[in-house]
Symmetry: C2
Subunit: 390 residues, 2 copies
């Protein structure tokens, strides 16, 4: 682990994100920066009813210490969503963020090589740095990671694991093709590399077929991280790790050392909503609403930016990954956008070396359709002022 000075440096990066969040709370700004779900859609009444059920159906052992594994009923429900998986291959965590922490604690020794897609999830990069991993980036294309480059890395370096977000990736929202998944499974098997699949967005699939899962392709070597933060509510902090039984045992020990256990109450609540079918209905609602928001953002981007920018229509997830002309530094553009009261995340934070680049990640789930239209209008204003200023 790095000592204080290294950590301070890395904090700069985090506080940039914190700053965006603070900024957007302070003013009438519109934020496309966070990865927040739409809170107006939270199933408040269903949650309240389920709390009531939990109180009625449990004695005081509900509030006592319990196993670090998490409650059986929810592990069983989650196991069902994977190929040939039992509850013993599931560990409940405090959000999928904790899954990532436990994975690092279990696998990373200082100097270990960790492969990531380029770009990749900001906070994952920060954590890998904190654990002193040697981060190697492999280019991500629209159909998935560049498998030739990946094989070169697997061949040349002793890789501890490959961290990937194959389905509705953060920040790009791209989804790996089945071919890429098969090829990566083959390579991982050949070179003995563990796959860490971070999968918070898969349930938010607006169109297209369910992609081929690593639980089917390479179950023994894949660790999958999941969460209810995007599909139910973030505050419950219910996530999970799926891995083979031995790995899950090790993660459990790390969990015990990290915080003993998570609260059973939100776990029971998730299990209850799944069993009653309310969870599935809610996810359908989210997909409908988010898809509509996505479409509004795409229309607005086309209306205001015409062919100045490039982007793919995401088939799921929460973000649109916009490519500005190559001369644009989105970190600079960000300053101009902020002055127009609109925020996004500049691409540089998604690269481990924080290099200058011309992409922007725009979240479409946490704004109303009115705010989306208005926010894109403001972004265009900011963009014009930025261009004029060059």
């Amino acid at each position: 682990m790095k000592n204080l000075f290294a950590r301070r440096a890395e904090k700069q990066n985090r506080s940039f994100t914190r700053e965006i969040l603070d900024m957007t709370k302070r003013s009438l700004a519109i934020s496309f920066a966070g990865g927040l779900p739409d809170e107006s859609l939270f199933p408040r009444d269903e949650i309240r009813q389920e709390f009531e059920n939990i109180f009625q159906n449990h004695d005081n052992s509900l509030f006592q210490y319990s196993s670090a594994k998490g409650i059986e009923a929810l592990r069983e429900e989650i196991a069902k969503t994977y190929h040939k998986t039992t509850k013993d291959e599931i560990l409940l965590t405090s959000g999928s963020q904790q899954g990532l922490d436990l994975v690092c604690k279990t696998f990373i020794d200082s100097g270990d090589v960790v492969v990531v897609e380029s770009p990749s999830y900001l906070v994952a990069l920060n954590i890998f740095k904190m654990f002193e991993a040697d981060i190697v980036e492999v280019k991500l294309n629209k159909k998935g990671v560049d498998t030739k480059e990946l094989e070169r890395v697997f061949k040349q370096r002793r890789v501890k694991f490959f961290y990937t977000i194959p389905t509705f990736h953060n920040p790009t929202s791209w989804c790996w093709s089945d071919w890429t998944r098969e090829e990566v499974s083959r390579l991982a098997k050949k070179y003995g590399v563990i796959l860490i699949e971070d999968n918070p967005y898969e349930a938010l699939r607006f169109e297209g077929e369910k992609p081929l899962g690593f639980d089917r392709l390479l179950p023994a070597q894949t660790v999958s991280l999941g969460t209810f933060s995007k599909t139910l509510v973030p505050d419950f902090r219910v996530g999970w790790i799926r891995g083979d039984k031995d790995m899950v045992e090790r993660f459990q020990t790390m969990k015990e050392n990290s915080d003993l256990q998570s609260s059973k109450i939100p776990q029971l609540l998730c299990a209850g909503l799944i069993k009653s079918g309310k969870y599935a209905l809610h996810v359908e609602l989210l997909k409908k609403e988010y898809r509509q928001k996505r479409d509004v953002m795409i229309e607005s981007l086309r209306e205001y930016f015409k062919d100045t920018i490039e982007f793919e229509t995401p088939k799921g997830g929460m973000f649109i990954w916009v490519k500005f002309p190559h001369f644009v530094d989105t970190m600079e553009l960000f300053e101009f956008a902020i002055r127009e009261d609109v925020a996004f995340v500049p691409s540089k934070v998604f690269f481990s070396d924080e290099r200058k680049s011309s992409f922007a990640r725009l979240n479409f789930t946490n704004s109303t359709t009115f705010e989306i239209k208005e926010g894109i209008r403001r972004l265009k204003n900011g963009y014009e002022k930025y261009i004029d200023d060059r």
Copy 2:
């Protein structure tokens, strides 16, 4: 961080504890092993009412992502319990166990010297080993740590921090004298050592004066860990860290990287129960009930063991630390006790080298007074068979 093999070895130790817990669930056994509160005393109705209040008084932002710091209302209430402390010096954690994890992540680099009392809290020892600390034990006496030995260590080694449970210590339940606290503060200041004060039991003081706090003696160099697990319910996973503002900022970054944030709902619940005065009433009830259980265990120990064993009457906390005759290995005694369907924690797990020793930690909070009497009777039977078998 250690790699897999080292971790496996260390798991043996954990699974011993897990085994005790499993064993006691399976049978009619009586367990004095865990550190569990009495669940029949959990303030169920007050909790239910408070949940109701929270739903009524909050909009959907209750369920949204929020700050890693934890809710302001609770940080304010906790700050009031310390000398000249503000809410910015408090970070809410997922139990005090997570506080320990964040402390390790923030301070320990591989090979760093960490001083602990001998004996010390089992799980803390495990975590320090996991972070590859060089653990140095300093003898604990009834009035506190041996300050001469402590100064020798502070002088000879570059100590990162001194981890201590000065008030109703785990496993001994001993409470440091004010003189020891003053002397240790002086030494910590002189040698620039941070104090990590783990303080889960202080609120459970049955008699005697409130001890002099490190928040008063050495506020800038002390990090205190607290929890509602022993005084309210463990499942809420609400704990906290008190430290100076800069340190708390660093802990917050570590918290963000570990699990983003904890759930606001149990935090609001704790704050609500404190504000309404119900929490204070509940703690009074616990003290009365636990004191009575302590007295029953002491009577039973005297009745069955006469002067075979030695122990102090704890003035607070959850344990009695019993010294068997010097030739007794409590790890062996444990096997005999288990056959009589009674469990305790043998002392060896509280020493970092797991050396053979003749103490036992008996918990008195999680059994009924009937079970306490019956359990001590069984322990005596087990003890006699152990002696006969030698």
